[in-house]
């Protein structure tokens, strides 16, 4: 099934507790199902809840490093706006950035003197890195799909549009293996909405 020859490097960024790791698991296993060699790297432990989290996923013919270097990411998917900015250095020029429109102010903003970047700053920083930039109303779409927590799967749906070598059935099959049965319908809806919104 693997028709692409070049490596695909994905960086997922979010806040602990947002479901970043679920999406990274799905994305990695979709790569395996599509016939790629796959590696995935993430850091857990140390009560990452509430902290900045990121996952690196690589698909290719033969993958060595589990980590993606500066300028090597083809796709940056952020589940939170500020977190998109934190990893922008990893993106190759012209790479794809998909940002979910959720803003979670860090404690240093809510109880200290730090300032959350405004929309203009966000667009400027990301716009310098690439023209292929999309903001997805992930929260609104997830609510429409039936549960705001499925915002992560909305973004996976948006990403899947870029990976048309992978048939829709493969995405849905793998999502079905990783999402609890009672939330499956909501997540499938969320995935489809992410695809269509894009």
């Amino acid at each position: 099934m693997n028709t692409g020859t070049r490596d695909r490097n994905f960086v997922l960024a979010g806040v602990g507790g947002q479901g970043t790791l679920l999406v990274s698991n799905v994305l990695a296993h979709v790569g395996v199902r599509a016939g790629y060699d796959v590696k995935k790297a993430e850091v857990h432990g140390m009560a990452q809840r509430g902290g900045s989290v990121s996952s690196h996923i690589r698909w290719g013919a033969k993958i060595h490093s589990p980590l993606i270097g500066l300028g090597e990411a083809d796709y940056l998917v952020a589940f939170e706006v500020l977190e998109a900015l934190r990893y922008v250095e990893l993106l190759r020029p012209g790479g794809t950035v998909i940002v979910g429109e959720m803003r979670i102010p860090p404690l240093s903003v809510s109880s200290g003197g730090d300032v959350y970047p405004d929309d203009e700053t966000v667009r400027r920083i990301l716009g310098q890195a690439t023209e292929d930039l999309s903001f997805v109303p992930s929260v609104r779409l997830a609510k429409d799909a039936g549960n705001v927590r499925a915002h992560n799967i909305v973004l996976l749906g948006a990403l899947s549009v870029h990976l048309d070598q992978v048939p829709l059935e493969v995405w849905l099959e793998v999502i079905g293996e990783w999402v609890p049965k009672r939330y499956l319908e909501v997540n499938v809806n969320a995935f489809r909405m992410g695809r269509e919104a894009y």
Partner: protein, 601 residues
């Protein structure tokens, strides 16, 4: 068709132990090693346990190996400091069956107090060290380690690092090969081998050194030490995850990939060095391989090019190689500048964390706090800034006793988590009682080992394999040790915490306060979550509630008419209803649970 799975290094080690016939495995949780035993516990054929600390875990594994069963002990890198005594005697005695000691180093200190390179321990204790470069090797090398352990009659270390433990790659699965014995095996008694009194130990030491010589000879043809010849202008000696980074950066170079990083195969290295024009070592942390090669009299470069501190990654390796003239500058991929001045987002105490009420109170009483290792270490961060030391597991109580004996102007306490107390806090509390100081110890009992992801411990009443068991009572334990003043409080009740602390600080002699409340993320606590709300008319934006450092209470966009300060807002998605913020609010502007429930009704 062989079955393949996308396993993390930790899952792969667990699978490897299962397939290689390990019968007994013991560990204490510690990032990045924790998931190894969690995964192994799913295989019924293997007995797996959480021991109270790594030293006990290693003694357990050694005992099983003395008894003739393949055994494994697992720990994070600093866990081997705790288990070092056992590690050294096991090397002296050898065992009746294979023993593998898995330790996971943490370059870059994602969740550790240091980034010590445990390969030093291998050399120090004369224990062979195997290092996988991906999940497949992690699985395979468990079996290899056990075979080597039996062949050479000594323990073998399997050294992982965070990026091996927590990276997933494809692994081919096999079957469990070991046959279960029909009858219990006879314990073979051999006092000269297993009783390490000086007379026996003196006879064992030359045997251990001979073993090193034999392992060295074996390493020359060991299949996991392999040469991949490419262009001869550059030869790279490497191992572990550094091999993967080097392959990315130098796809055409020649490689000597070491699966055994101590002891080293001298002839193989000499031969490889002679075939290449320039020899470099790419290794994370200390120049272990580099220095060993230099001791052989072979010219080699390593830490003059690559950093000693932190972890490597493809960018670091490439940038250093460019600076050293090994690669032309244009080989670096183009990328934009990093975004500057972003607010940091460190991990923090969760909404509803029971530790918060304790720290709010120690701050109110202006206490000096000797800290320990667990989620509560995060209490050092602003705005709480409530914890003032963190060294190693169990250090808080001994430190506080020392502070007490030295004498200071301020009042002070030690804080330690429930699991950490069992780990190494107990002897320190015994010392407080034995040598009598005015030390006040706060045991933060959240009914789990929270930081590593909710593992059982001797106080929870359940084992790793989900068997019900005796649950230790801290109160009885403290009294049995000789602590007279023992209080138990609910940390959600700030008044109770303050009263207990004041009573202990005013009393003569040692005291223990047990702060008992489940971790807010445990299912029993989740079932009681209920979001509170701010009364916008009462709140004047004074900001007291922000100082409890809860992610659920933030500044709203609405300003108070008089003060001009932002009114507080509680995020109903995050708030668990612990009421700590409500108790510090001077204007009673935050609804309590009862009021919320009444409103709802």
């Amino acid at each position: 068709m062989t079955q393949k799975a996308l396993y993390s290094g930790n899952e792969a080690v667990a699978r490897g132990a299962y397939e290689a016939g390990v019968r007994v495995a013991a560990a204490y949780p510690g990032t990045p090693s924790t998931e190894i035993l969690e995964n192994l516990a799913r295989y019924d054929a293997v007995y797996s346990e959480w021991s109270p600390n790594e030293k006990v875990a290693l003694d357990v594994a050694i005992g099983a190996a003395y008894a003739g069963s393949r055994a494994m002990a697992v720990m994070k890198h600093v866990g081997l400091n705790v288990a070092a005594d056992a590690f050294f005697y096991a090397s002296m005695t050898g065992m009746e069956a294979g023993l593998v000691i898995v330790c996971a180093d943490d370059p870059n200190m994602f969740s550790s107090q240091n980034e010590q390179d445990n390969r030093h321990y291998a050399k120090f204790a004369r224990v062979p060290c195997l290092e996988p470069s991906d999940s497949q090797e992690a699985k395979d090398l468990v079996g290899v380690a056990l075979e080597l352990s039996e062949r050479f009659d000594g323990p073998v270390m399997l050294r992982l690092t965070t990026r091996i433990s927590h990276s997933n790659a494809l692994v081919e699965l096999g079957e469990r090969t070991a046959q279960e014995p029909a009858d219990p095996p006879q314990y073979r008694i051999d006092r000269s081998k297993y009783v390490m009194v000086p007379g026996n130990a003196r006879r064992r030491h030359p045997i251990v050194e001979e073993r090193v010589r034999q392992v060295k000879a074996y390493a020359e043809t060991f299949s996991a030490n392999r040469v991949e010849m490419g262009e001869r202008s550059l030869g790279i000696v490497t191992g572990g995850v550094a091999y993967q980074y080097a392959k990315e950066v130098f796809p055409r170079a020649s490689f000597l990939k070491l699966g055994m990083t101590w002891p080293l195969p001298e002839a193989l290295i000499r031969d490889f060095a002679a075939r290449v024009e320039r020899l470099i070592v790419v290794e994370e942390l200390d120049p272990m391989i580099e220095e060993e090669i230099r001791l052989m009299g072979i010219p080699v470069e390593g830490k003059s090019i690559f950093p000693l501190c932190g972890e490597l990654d493809p960018s670091v390796v490439r940038q250093c190689a460019i600076q050293a003239g090994l690669l032309p500058p244009e080989t670096a991929p183009a990328h934009g500048p990093p975004a500057q001045g972003l607010p940091a987002r460190p991990p923090l105490l969760c909404p509803g964390c029971p530790h918060r009420g304790v720290f709010v109170t120690t701050n109110k009483l202006k206490l000096v706090v000797s800290g320990d290792i667990g989620c509560y270490t995060l209490g050092f961060l602003p705005p709480l800034s409530a914890l003032h030391t963190c060294g190693c597991m169990g250090a808080s109580i001994g430190q506080a006793h020392g502070v007490s004996k030295a004498g200071i102007a301020q009042k002070h306490v030690a804080v330690i988590g429930d699991s950490t107390f069992f780990h190494t806090g107990m002897p320190a509390l015994l010392n407080v009682a034995y040598n009598q100081s005015d030390t006040v110890v706060l045991i933060l009992d959240n009914r789990t080992t929270a930081m590593t992801g909710h593992q059982q411990h001797p106080g929870t009443g359940r084992t790793l394999m989900e068997q019900p068991t005796y649950a230790v009572e801290f109160e009885a334990l403290a009294r049995a040790m000789g602590i007279e003043h023992v209080h138990t409080v609910d940390p959600y009740d700030l008044g109770a915490v303050e009263r207990a602390l004041r009573a202990c600080l005013d009393a003569e002699g040692p005291a223990v306060v047990i702060s008992r409340r489940e971790c807010a993320l445990l299912p029993v606590a989740r079932a009681q979550w209920m979001a509170l709300a701010v009364d916008e008319e009462r709140c004047n934006g004074c900001g007291l509630c922000f100082q409890v450092g809860c992610p659920a209470i933030v500044r709203s966009s609405r300003l108070d008419g008089k003060t001009g300060h932002a009114i507080a807002w509680i995020d109903p998605m995050l708030c668990t209803g612990c009421e700590v913020c409500a108790q510090v609010c001077a204007r009673k502007a935050i609804s309590l649970r009862d009021e919320m429930a009444a409103e709802e009704a």
